[in-house]
């Protein structure tokens, strides 16, 4: 929103800030675009599981790509500060360096999330750092990508501590060889690293251009202002909210693990404390979150509910203090397994939405449905290894304003895999992507129906998969009188074969496996739903007339 009463002098300083801020933000988007376009893994190139950031020399984010996956969005700057402090202090960096790591406790929370950082030098000075983070589908280890079944991180793949992949522009062949020797599809893993590095080199050039254009002092001034302004904006919003502590808790079960998450949100003046005390201890399964994950998802939910229109930057993280008990599923110790940690943190997000929803009810949502991820791997007819990712999305939950949207990833912000790409890069046949009638969380605003996908193995050999299914243990609950949605399910075409919703499995020759997403709960009483909207749902075959009568009190006009 523009104001009109600025004097010309402050207008020009403000204008400069605005122009450069836009450029920093756009640089992050451009970096993202480059990384996505050049990537090899399905998860980055088709599913957009990545994030990019422009940071100051001390690792504060001043441009974050809007397309990032939420859990990864705030992760880059936190990772960068850890690396600058504990691994590569600024004096050890030189032009042409590229640092990589996939350490879950430093980076994105599981081995597949690979962080790549490039220092940006201008006339010999370190002026900033560009970073890209992406989900590479192949990190070795057990077959999967988001498997729940490992007990320790060692089973999940190769772990590379912060290391220079490039030093002064020269590639470190030893690292290259170590990676090559530990993964199934080397050119894919290495290609992803190079794609992420390309995002950074694009960003490097843009940052240098800005410093060339405006000088380092202006760049630093604007960076500081971006951080100050975002911090101030959130603080102002917090100051307007009633002080107090708002609590929520949730219980859920994955495999044989019964887990609890508790959260207490305290607003104190213009500070926000989010404490997960009372949350379950870590478990011997890939369900544990390193602390960084819970910090970034908290920041994400707070931003969405309080200041969604604000451009994202570091200052915005500062008023928020997150704590979680050490050794818990939200702050696990090494060497816990973490691959499927999204199954856990999405429940923390639900609890947080409900807790904050006590303060800003108009921003709250009904319980989310989560996502199903289904990486398939094996060897094709020619013996070549492949990894192709399928899955479903439970949709965006309904709110005070709108119906939910089916098939949308939430809170994760990825994309589905096109069938045509999946079939081109795997020997499998993707049979179906469909909406399932009568599965919505009913309400004045209903959720979308469930999404069903199925995969057929026409080859002579076995194909491996590793499923994670959000909300397979119980139906997501409604909000404010809304009915609950449906839990996620899995099934096989083979008689009597059960496919567990979480964990590894084998797709035998000739077999078809089917995944049905969960659906979010409804929002508000279904009897209050606009009869025309109910009629439209019936007409579109999303809800049968029978269900419409029973649940929504639908009375068709027979005329």
């Amino acid at each position: 929103m523009s104001t009109t009463d600025d004097t010309d002098a402050t207008e020009s300083a403000d204008l400069e800030t605005q122009v450069l801020w836009n450029r920093l933000q756009a640089t992050a988007d451009e970096m993202y675009d480059a990384a996505e376009r050049l990537a090899y893994s399905f998860s980055i190139r088709e599913a957009a599981d990545a994030s990019t950031a422009v940071m100051t020399a001390d690792g504060n984010a001043i441009g974050l790509s809007d397309q990032s996956v939420p859990v990864l969005s705030g992760a880059l700057s936190r990772t960068t500060r850890i690396i600058l402090e504990d691994h590569f202090p600024p004096e050890t960096l030189e032009p042409g360096d590229t640092i990589i790591t996939n350490d879950p406790w430093i980076g994105g929370g599981h081995l597949s999330d690979v962080v790549v950082l490039n220092p940006v030098f201008h006339d010999g000075d370190l002026v900033g750092i560009t970073g890209s983070l992406g989900h590479t589908d192949d990190v070795g280890g057990n077959r999967g990508g988001w498997s729940t079944d490992a007990e320790q991180v060692y089973e999940e793949g190769i772990l590379i501590p912060p290391t220079k992949l490039y030093e002064g522009g020269e590639r470190n062949d030893a690292i290259d060889n170590i990676i090559r020797s530990n993964v199934r599809i080397p050119h894919q893993a290495l290609g992803d690293l190079e794609a992420l590095r390309s995002g950074n080199t694009v960003g490097e050039e843009r940052v240098r251009e800005i410093v060339d254009d405006r000088g380092k002092e202006t760049f630093d001034r604007v960076a500081e202002e971006v951080i100050d302004r975002t911090e101030r904006a959130l603080r102002e919003e917090l100051a307007d909210l009633p002080d107090g502590t708002y609590e929520d808790s949730t219980e859920f079960t994955v495999d044989e693990h019964d887990l609890t998450i508790q959260v207490a949100v305290t607003i104190d003046g213009d500070d926000l404390e989010v404490d997960f005390d009372g949350t379950s201890s870590q478990v011997d399964a890939g369900l544990n979150c390193p602390f960084g994950n819970i910090v970034t998802v908290t920041e994400y939910i707070v931003k969405c509910m309080l200041v969604p229109d604000l451009p994202n930057a570091e200052g915005f993280f500062r008023p928020i203090e997150v704590t979680a008990p050490e050794g818990s599923i939200l702050n696990c110790d090494r060497p816990a397994a973490t691959m499927a940690r999204h199954l856990t943190y999405s429940h923390a997000e639900d609890a947080l939405i409900r807790a904050l929803g006590q303060v800003v009810p108009e921003s709250a949502l009904s319980e989310m449905a989560g996502i199903q991820l289904a990486p398939f791997s094996g060897a094709d007819e020619n013996g070549e290894e492949f990894i192709a990712v399928g899955g479903t999305a439970g949709g965006f939950p309904p709110s005070a304003h709108n119906d939910g949207i089916p098939g949308v990833y939430f809170p994760y912000n990825g994309k589905n895999t096109p069938i045509e790409m999946f079939e081109r890069y795997s020997p499998l046949r993707w049979e179906e992507t469909a909406l399932v009638p009568d599965t919505e969380g009913a309400g004045e605003h209903r959720s979308g129906p469930a999404m069903r996908t199925s995969y057929h193995n026409p080859t002579d050999g076995p194909v491996y998969f590793a499923l994670t299914s959000g909300r397979a243990d119980r139906d997501p609950s409604g909000f404010r009188g809304g009915k609950s949605g449906k839990r996620a399910t899995t099934g096989s075409s083979s008689d009597g074969k059960e496919v567990p919703p979480n964990g590894p499995g084998v797709l035998e020759p000739g077999e078809t496996v089917t995944l049905v997403s969960a659906t979010p709960g409804g929002y508000g009483d279904p009897e209050d739903r606009d009869p025309e909207a109910v009629e439209a749902d019936v007409e579109r075959e999303l809800i049968t007339e029978e269900r419409a009568r029973e649940v929504y009190g639908y009375e068709p006009d027979n005329s």
Binding site: T3, T4, Q18, A26, Q67, K415
Partner: protein, 724 residues
């Protein structure tokens, strides 16, 4: 035409306030029929016209309010007038080049055909499920538009091709027949989109579907994904094909109506449509692939800016085109218009990118926002002025038009600030209702904000300018471009009066308002070099290709493009081809467009392609390529008639007689406030004259405003440059 008549027309041209002064050298070719080209660009509020006498090269312009109910009516009214006033008969006209917002308006208003979709078994919901991502991850109020084809009209066919295009499950013709009957008889569809899996690779099954439908319902419109957009990724291809099917009957009806009206007026030439990519297509192609017309009008404005840039030796231009409904911005770099291949139209959520219908098609890369003269201003919940994106359009229009509009608009604000002349607006065809405008501005804006009416008007003006500047900055920044140092070309009815403020906000210090700026985009229609881009997809690893493969691909594209241009009356021998390839490393997700500069169709080799790939990769990503194999996916060929000599056609300028300016108070905000300002008629300016701001220059189709800190100069051809 007898010579005396021509003189008479010249005389009338001088008197009539509606057209820019008309003049023609006395060429005595009594027996020969003059050949004229007419450009018509239908915008949201006005339709612009350009008439080119191809014998003398002289160009005349005019405009007419758009008639939203049937845009062809306003177009025909205006066409009659500009021809009559210039003494040109429809028989003298051999070419009409047409730009229209018809396609985007049909999508925005939801007035397309009742459309059905036939698709592969199992995937009918692909259209509704989209790609599953959120275009703004922080905005929990996000929405998507309802699919153009609702679920009950999306029917499935039991068939399958594999990714090589081979038949896995054969198609059953009987099933096609039944499904089509259901669509037509039970659902009343007028148009069918057909999108089958892997049909980017083989059109075999889609062609059978088309055959069966043609047997059953010969008049039913059918759009095949393999023809409309044969690209991999089923959602994007299906969405594009559905949009095409949805608008095709509307476009066909419109073009048939327009053609028959023109024909009954005596027109015997050809109608061509401008495409979103700035190319042209004949009516037959336009009817089959209306998807290519989504940005038909806006594209012409960018082409016009490029031409005006050339006239002023500016290769780096910011094209700013502001009409009644929207404003368009685009950057021309080194004389090149930027292209993109994806867009979303008819955005439903706060005009956010990604909240509309997705399509894949070549388009000029421009940004368009809901900010125009007709944009409506209001005071929002937090006591700030908001402007747009709603527009009063041409009906009812701004308050000051006195045609029933009672919402404050940007044009009204311009009137209250003194930028517009209440007595001589639109060439005197319209008196502006100043008092009524003042009173509504007082009630709706000034009183709630507790400011003067003039201050309220200034805030409206500033907010819309800031909105545009913000959109333009984002556009520039997201492409790694900078607006500083560019020369702005201001076009459209509202462009020249807003340019001085928008330019300052973008750190641009030169604004060019070409003579005829008010109808600039229609000048782009007739004057831009005509071109057509053809492309084909054929995936192969570079090492497996030979020079012959490249030549074969490009030769067939050249043939396709040449036949389109030939139908547009262009001699293929007079054209230039520019080639490019979409390439990537094998297994990468997305390709990059690699120009093959200076190459002909018969001298591309794998080595040349590789070098070009490496160069583009380095330029784009600031790094070297990988040591992994490279593949080619798409071949592109742009055939263009080549740059016309800027001197061959030109706007007819006044005879050089100057007149003293009037004066009125004009408000410039901030430290300046209200200033006594000289007001010139554009035609009364003196070439090579330099005038210190503030100054207002009025023409029939637009008004130029320059603030007190600027200097305005007039070129020989009457183009105005404002130095800020």
């Amino acid at each position: 035409m007898p010579r005396d008549d021509r003189l008479a027309h010249r005389y009338w041209g001088l008197l009539l306030p509606f057209t820019i002064t008309y003049m023609r050298s006395a060429v005595d070719t009594e027996d020969e029929r003059y050949m004229y080209t007419l450009g018509m660009d239908i915008g949201g509020t006005f339709t612009d016209f350009t008439l080119v006498d191809r014998e003398s090269g002289e160009v005349t312009v005019d405009k007419e309010p758009t008639t939203p109910a049937n845009p062809a009516e306003g177009a025909l009214t205006g066409a009659h007038r500009i021809l009559d006033e210039n003494g040109v008969a429809f028989e003298d006209l051999d070419t009409v080049i047409h730009g229209t917002t018809l396609v985007s308006n049909t999508l925005i208003e939801g007035t397309g055909a009742t459309t059905g979709l036939l698709t592969t078994a199992g995937i009918r919901d692909t259209l509704e499920l989209r790609r599953g991502s959120r275009y703004d991850m922080f905005d929990w109020e996000m929405e998507y538009p309802d699919p153009l084809v609702p679920r009950q009209r999306r029917l499935e066919l039991n068939e399958r091709l594999n990714d090589e295009g081979e038949v896995v499950d054969p198609l059953d013709r009987e099933e096609v027949r039944e499904r089509t009957r259901t669509l037509v008889e039970d659902h009343g569809v007028d148009s069918v989109a057909v999108s089958l899996l892997h049909s980017y690779e083989s059109d075999e099954h889609e062609q059978i579907v088309a055959d069966v439908i043609a047997e059953e319902y010969p008049d039913l419109n059918v759009s095949l994904s393999s023809e409309v957009v044969p690209v991999i990724r089923e959602y994007e291809r299906t969405s594009t094909t559905v949009i095409n099917a949805y608008v095709a009957p509307v476009v066909a009806d419109y073009l048939e109506f327009l053609q028959s009206e023109l024909t009954s007026d005596g027109f015997a030439g050809e109608v061509y449509m401008m495409t979103s990519s700035g190319g042209i297509v004949d009516v037959r192609t336009a009817k089959a692939e209306p998807i290519s017309l989504v940005e038909s009008g806006p594209a012409a404005g960018v082409l016009a800016s490029r031409i005006f840039g050339e006239t002023h030796d500016n290769d780096d231009v910011f094209s700013f085109d502001m009409g009644g409904t929207t404003a368009k911005g685009s950057i021309i770099e080194d004389g090149d218009v930027r292209m993109k291949y994806k867009a979303d139209v008819a955005r439903v959520h706060r005009f956010k990118e990604g909240s509309g219908y997705d399509l894949v098609s070549p388009l000029i890369d421009l940004t368009e926002i809901g900010a125009g003269g007709g944009s409506i201003a209001s005071v929002n919940d937090v006591g700030l002025i908001e402007v747009g994106p709603e527009s009063s359009g041409s009906d009812p229009g701004p308050i000051c038009y006195n045609q029933g509009g009672d919402d404050p608009t940007v044009t009204d604000a311009s009137l209250l600030l003194g930028y517009l002349n209440p007595e001589n607006f639109y060439g005197g065809r319209m008196d502006l209702a100043a008092e009524k405008t003042e009173s509504i501005f007082g009630e709706e804006l000034a009183d709630p904000l507790d400011v003067s009416i003039t201050e309220a008007a200034w805030r409206v003006f500033e907010v819309v300018n800031e909105n545009m500047a913000t959109a333009f900055r984002r556009y520039a920044a997201s492409r790694g471009l900078d607006t500083r140092g560019l020369s702005m070309t201001a076009l459209g009815g509202a462009g020249p009066s807003h340019a001085f403020r928008v330019a300052r906000k973008l750190d641009i210090d030169e604004v060019v308002c070409p003579y005829g700026a008010g109808v600039g985009s229609s000048i782009g229609l007739t004057e831009a070099p005509r071109m057509y881009e053809a492309s084909s997809t054929s995936q192969a690893v570079l090492e497996t290709l030979s020079a012959d493969d490249f030549e074969r691909q490009f030769a067939s594209l050249r043939e396709e493009a040449a036949s389109v241009l030939e139908r547009a009356g262009i001699d293929p021998d007079e054209t230039e081809a520019s080639l490019s390839l979409d390439m990537r490393h094998v297994d990468q997700g997305h390709e990059i467009k690699v120009p093959l500069e200076g190459r002909d169709i018969d001298d591309v080799t794998p080595d040349i392609a590789r070098e070009a790939f490496e160069r583009t990769y380095e330029e784009t990503f600031n790094r070297e390529t990988l040591e992994f194999p490279v593949e080619v996916l798409t071949y592109r060929l742009e055939l263009s008639e080549g740059d016309r000599d800027a001197e061959t056609s030109r706007l007819v300028v006044p005879d050089g007689e100057s007149a003293a300016p009037d004066s009125r108070d004009v408000y410039f905000g901030g430290e300046h406030g209200s200033v006594a300002t000289d007001v010139y008629r554009w035609d009364d300016l003196t070439p090579d004259e330099s005038i210190d701001g503030p100054v207002v220059v009025e023409a029939d189709q637009t008004t130029v405003v320059a603030d007190p800190d600027s200097t305005l100069t007039v070129a020989d051809n009457y183009d105005i440059t404002i130095e800020l």
